[in-house]
Structures are given as C-alpha cells and as structure tokens.
Symmetry: C3
Amino acid sequence: MINPFFENEGPFKIEHILKFIDLDNKNLNYNGSISDIKDLVSADSKSITFFHSQKYKELASKTHALFCITTESLKKDLPNKCKPIVVDNVLIATAKITEKFYPNSVNDNFDNEIRNIKKTTFKDYVTYGENVLVGHNIKIGNNCFIGHNTIIEKNVQIGDNCNIGSNSIIRNSLIKNNVSILDNCVIGKKGFGFFPNKTNNAKYPHIGLVIINDFSEIGCGSTIDRGSMSNTIIGKNTYLDNQIHIAHNVKIGDNSIIAGQVGIAGSTTIGNNVKIGGQAGISGHLKIGDNVEIAGGSGVIKNVPDNSKVMGYPAKNIKEFLRQNK
Amino acid sequence: MINPFFENEGPFKIEHILKFIDLDNKNLNYNGSISDIKDLVSADSKSITFFHSQKYKELASKTHALFCITTESLKKDLPNKCKPIVVDNVLIATAKITEKFYPNSVNDNFDNEIRNIKKTTFKDYVTYGENVLVGHNIKIGNNCFIGHNTIIEKNVQIGDNCNIGSNSIIRNSLIKNNVSILDNCVIGKKGFGFFPNKTNNAKYPHIGLVIINDFSEIGCGSTIDRGSMSNTIIGKNTYLDNQIHIAHNVKIGDNSIIAGQVGIAGSTTIGNNVKIGGQAGISGHLKIGDNVEIAGGSGVIKNVPDNSKVMGYPAKNIKEFLRQNK
Amino acid sequence: MINPFFENEGPFKIEHILKFIDLDNKNLNYNGSISDIKDLVSADSKSITFFHSQKYKELASKTHALFCITTESLKKDLPNKCKPIVVDNVLIATAKITEKFYPNSVNDNFDNEIRNIKKTTFKDYVTYGENVLVGHNIKIGNNCFIGHNTIIEKNVQIGDNCNIGSNSIIRNSLIKNNVSILDNCVIGKKGFGFFPNKTNNAKYPHIGLVIINDFSEIGCGSTIDRGSMSNTIIGKNTYLDNQIHIAHNVKIGDNSIIAGQVGIAGSTTIGNNVKIGGQAGISGHLKIGDNVEIAGGSGVIKNVPDNSKVMGYPAKNIKEFLRQNK
C-alpha cells in the first residue's frame, strides 16, 4: 500500500543513510538507491529494515530487505542477502533514518491548507455542520454526516454512511463504511513514542495510520493514536464507549465491546468478540485472545489466552480472583 | 412530562407493533391505539411496557400498561388488565418498538438546524463567546455565560445564572439554575447501550434526558450520557471534577463530590453527600447509599449501604482494606 | 512576580477585611492598608497570610506577614510582629478574603474580549489555523504553530518554537519555549477546590498559574488546572501522554514521562526523571522523589522516596507486590 499521508523523501544512497546516523563509510559496496524503510516483514529488496530484539529472530531470518540496522550479536540471524549495519542502539538509529525518509511524521503540526467544507464540492452531498474544515485530497462517501467544528485533515478517507460528531479531529486515518465517530474525539495523532534524552527527547516518527473498519463506533472524548511503523486498527462492528485511549500500533479485532475510560497501551493485539469492562487497562505489547472477557477496573500485564475471563490487578482468572477477594 | 427532545411517531395499532417485531397477529382483540412505550411505573392505560427480569416483579404487578412485552415465565406476574406479548428476547423487542416510536433516538446526528447565537434574540441578554451555536426551541435564563465554540442543540433548557464553558456540547438536557458546565464537555449524547450482533450491533434507543440540578458543577472534559427509558440525573450542589464519565440512567444525589477521572456505569444510583475519590469506578445497576465515602482508585462491584467508607478493588470496608494491605 | 492574570482589588484596610469574614472590630490598632494575601513564605510586611495546620509550624514561625488568619491553638507559633486573626475555620476565612482581593479568580468565565488572530499583529509571524481566538495582552514567540479553533485567553505567554494543537484552550498559563500542547487540551482552568456547604458550595479562589517549561509535551485531551495560592508546574522535557489530569498546585520535575490516563491529585510534588505507567493515580499532598518508577494502574497513597519502583494499590515495592500477586 502506498502511504497516502507521509511523503517519502527517498530514495537515498546508502552512504547518505549512514551519514544520517553518524556512521563512517563501511564499504558496503552498493551503488543503487534505498527506496524506503520498512519493518522486517514488509521490506523488499530496495528497502532498509531494522532488527533489535531476539524476539523477532524468526522474522529476521526471512526478511527480503537489502540492508538491516541491527547489533553485533543479532546480525548472525539475518539471511545472506541482507547486509547488516551494526549500531549501538537500533531504535534510535531507526528513528533517525525514518525521520529522513518521512520528515513530516515526527511532529503533528495541524493541516494549514484546510478549507471550510462549504467551499468544496463535498457541500453537494455531505450533511455537514457549521465550521467544518476539510483538507486537500480527502474522500468522503455517500450519506455521511459531519458535525460542527469537526476537522478532517488532508488525505483522510471516509466511506459511506459514516456519522462523524462535532468537535472531532481526524487525521492520518482510513475510516471504512457505516462507522460512527462521536464528539470530541482525536483520531490519528502521533503515538507517545520517543527516546528519552536529558534535555530534549528524540521524537519517534509515526508513519502508520489509524484504520477503523465497517460498522464500528468510537465514543465521545476518545483518542486513537496512529501507528509508528505499522497501523492502529479497530476491527469491524467493534464498539468503544467514551473517554477511551488506544495507543499506537494497537490492533483490535471484530465484534468487540470496550466500555468507558479503558486504556490500551502501545502495540497490544486484542482478538475478536472481546469484552472489556470500564476503566480496565492493558499493558503494551500483549496478546489478548478471542472471546476474552476482562472485568472493569482490571489491570492486564500478561497475555490472555482465548476464551478466558480475567479480573484484578494483575488480572487473573476471574473465579480465582473473586475467591481470594471476598 | 412531555419529552421535548424526541418526537413520538405513534400512536400505532397493536397489529403494527407486532409487525415491528415480526410476530404474527395473536388475536389480541384490541382496536384502539397504543400511544407510547414506557417503563413499568410510568406506563398508563394507553401504553405498552416491558418486563424482562424477576427483579422487577413487584413493579410489574402494579403496572397500568395496556400491553407488556415479556416472557412466558414472567407473564404470570402481570395484573389482569395488562396483556402479555410473549417474545424470546424482551430487550431486543423493546428496542425495536422504541425505535419505531422514537426514530431519532437511536443515532446522535448533530443538530443541523442550528444558528450562530448572534442571529438570535439570545444575543440581547446572554453573555456569549465566538461561534456559539444554538438550536431551535431552546431556553436560556437570565445572567448566563456561554463560552466560545459551544453548541447548545435544539430544545435544551438552561436556567438562570448558568456558566457554560467553551468547546462544550449540550443536547437532550435540562440544566437548572446556577449550574456550571466547564470546557470540552459532552452532555446528553446517547448511552453505550446496544444488542451485540455478529455483523452490525442493534443500537438501543435513548429517549431519556440529562437533568442537572441547581448549583452543580461539571468539570472539563466530562461526558454525561442521557438515559435510555429513564433520565440521567445530577443532584443539587453536586460537584464533578475533570474527565468524569457518567453513563446512561445514572442518578446522583445532592451535595456529592466526585473527583477527577471517576467513571460510573449505567443505571447506578448514588445517594446524597457522597464523596468519591479520583479514578474510582462503580459498576452498573448498583445502589450507593447516602453519606458514603469511596476512596480514590477503588472499584465498586456491589451495593454500598448508607454511611459506609469503602476502598479497594473490589471495594470493601476501608479499615479492613488498609489492615489487609499494609 | 506580579500576577498578570488576576487583578488585585486591594489594598484594603484591616477593618474591611474583618468585615469580609463577619468579624467584629478587634481593635487591631493598625491604620495602614493590607496590599495582598499570600502564603506564609511569600507574604511581606504589607500582607495578610493564613496558618491552618501544625504541619506548617516551621514556616509560620518565620513569616513576614503583618496579619495571619489562624486558630486559637496555632497562634502561639507566629512571630511577634505578625498579628493573629483568630477564626473558627481558617480555610473558609482565607477563601472569603482571597475572593475580595481577586474576585475574578473564583469563576472561570470565558474571556469575552477575544478576537480572531487574523485581526491581530500575530497574523504576521504565527502559523495559525481557522477560528483561532486570542485575548488581550498575550505574548507569542517566534516560530509558533496554533491549530484550528484553539483559544488563547488574555495575558497568556507562549515562548518560541511552540506547537499548540487544535481545539485547545489555554488560560492563566506561562508556556516556555519548544513546548508542544496537542489537541483538545484545557490548560489553566481553576482547580477542583471548594468548601462543601449544604446548599451552595463556596468556591475557592485560584490565583495560581500553570507553568509549562521548555521542551515539554502535553498529550491530547489532557487537563492541567491552575494553582490556588501557588502554581501548577510541569518541568523541562517532561512528556505527558493523552487524557491525563493534573490537579491544582501539582509540581512535576524535569525529564519525567507520564503515560495515558494518569491522574495526579492536588498539591502533590513529583521529582525529576520519574516514569509513571498508564492509568496510575496519585493522591494529593504527596511527595514522589526523583528517579521513581510507578507501574501502570497503581494507586499511590503515600510518599515515595527517591529511586524507588512501586506497583499496586496501595502502591508498594514492585518486587514485593509481584511476589504477593503471582
């Protein structure tokens, strides 16, 4: 998929890329151009990728990337065709290179080439409120409603029969059909990802999107951050109540129900038919299976297998929790 | 009370009502019209009501409704004058019928017959900010302030001496006198009520209101959902801090104090003089008595009697909790 | 520092001040004027101060204030030069007097002398969105971005290279250089401080500011309340994620990282290099040391010393918590 939101400033010669991260020329003997930076799976033979943890050994061994930013100890797991670029800190180097390919992905400056929807052709078939602002190159399907003061920034795509509330902001997002996004939401801002640094943290580029699938609903005052390298995804017919926070790279399956004030930290995956009670929190980088029920107020800090019911902090089997906490 | 917010599309003949829920003609032998759908208590002899749980047996036995949607096993508890309409799923049937009576109560489309307050007679006596939008048929009392970009949708009533902040949205609400609603609030959107369904959840109609009584204050970024069949009520002189979520049908008494980020799930009742600490969560359908204190961060999952102090998750007597958790 | 936000209506004669709190003339034998009300430390020989708890005995003994509102039992700790004014409830009396000095600090009426930024000289050097509103006497540095529908109320100061998102409201705040404030934030509203009262709570005046230091970032949908007598302060290079609530008088150090939906109650102090996981809550009036790590979802109810890692509710040593909660 061509990313409609972040313009790729590449290709770059590998020598230039090394300069971005203050490495000397390492005689990499490659004269062609590197067209993009991608994760291990989606990288092709014109791309550079990154490999920073033993956990991704399996994926690394199969990557099609031409170059890979990695460490001395991990480089042995790369295939022969993929040339390692050894650095001290893979994520910082990756952030620096990504920022060169996608300079607009670091900050979230507002879209300042925006117009009142009244001055666009959308006025002819969208039902819109007062002060609705739309950016360039957006798409809006048939039978859509967009409430007062809502801002749809450039390149956003909205399908048919969507209902967007008032005072919401949507950027870097693909909204499919029959989706409701209620009032005061912020969809698609950059995630809370950066490298701490004593005087001025290094912000991590976020080139991912938010994708909200058919028939889903997002409650008032919710925030859904876009992904860094991958996307943040809300499945089909999944309902989120008010004041929910979904961090970058989270993927939620279909037919799930998430009650008010839940928070899901970065890169966690939630299955299908999952029910999460109000104010529950789920740590980052976890896998929550299908048909899971998480009681309101729980704090989930490890993976939850399919068909489980959990409760408590840290969340455990609900029967066990209730027996221990009479 | 005539509901000023949702127009009743009735009356309907009982045969039509049965068709809404795909029931055959059952020879109900009634030729008159059904004027409304109401709960067991407020239904009169022109209304249809619903009875879905043993818990409401007492109320059911006294209903004045002409018809009642119920189950085979519950119908025996209805008075003789009230004719049962037996269905498999009472709540789904009730939702379908309610939607026919009140078609505008299912979705929360923004009010698109709204005008800038400058173009209304309110400009003569309300102190208002920039871009304030007001719907048709609203009332605003004397000495009121309405901040920038705030939206007061149709039929809303606001009493005297009220102070509404900026960027807030108020719909389907009755705001009494001397009330403060601060910035970025959403008051009166539909509750998070629906019937799960594999490809497209059935949204439950919400014909209730939000009522905020005299001298109360609602903090920034709070959301208060309107009721489904009954109302969501905030008592007199009750103060809510920032980022609080109050779900549909919740009733909070007078002189209560609720700190930041608290969430109260649907249909729970909170007494008078209650203090709730920050980030506490209260499950749905509970009764919290008068003079109760709930410590910050607690998770309340059962009723709390008058004059109790509770803490923990699940919340229990505060002294017991602190002794067990040194 | 002269407070740029709240105009001091003083000076007042001491007889007038006594009348504000319904005290008879006590023959205080002072004919001069009282110029201000300040806390024990910052009060000078023209000020009145207040002393309500044994905890502040040390500070009270050194105050330079001319008068001090206090109780019969505490007055003995004041220096000879400071004349006690004995009352039953020190905080209520202080609130009443503060309100007379600073009448605009009690309510948060929106700034209604505001203009579209297009009509100001800021249009020449600020990058601004649609419907941006700015009050009188504000300062905005070089190279700043201000997003759509954002409101900067009177007297606010914003440094260089700041990035303010859309739909945010900033009042009573000093924003230093290189600060990012994302979308839908409310910065600088009055804190949740008042004296409960059966029919109409007495709101506490908030004459403090919010100060956000260099290189910090505030996530979407966050609320930061201004201080009552002192200021609410966010340190340098401190990052707050989305939907965070920071109550009045909180002080957060430098280089701290606070994840989504955290809440920090009033007057708590957080050190430097602190990491707080998502949804954690911290009670009021606590001291959290430097280099502390607080796990997501924790509830902190007592002070945490430097270099500690805590988890749980109530939060305790993380290793102990995890051992007890396998």
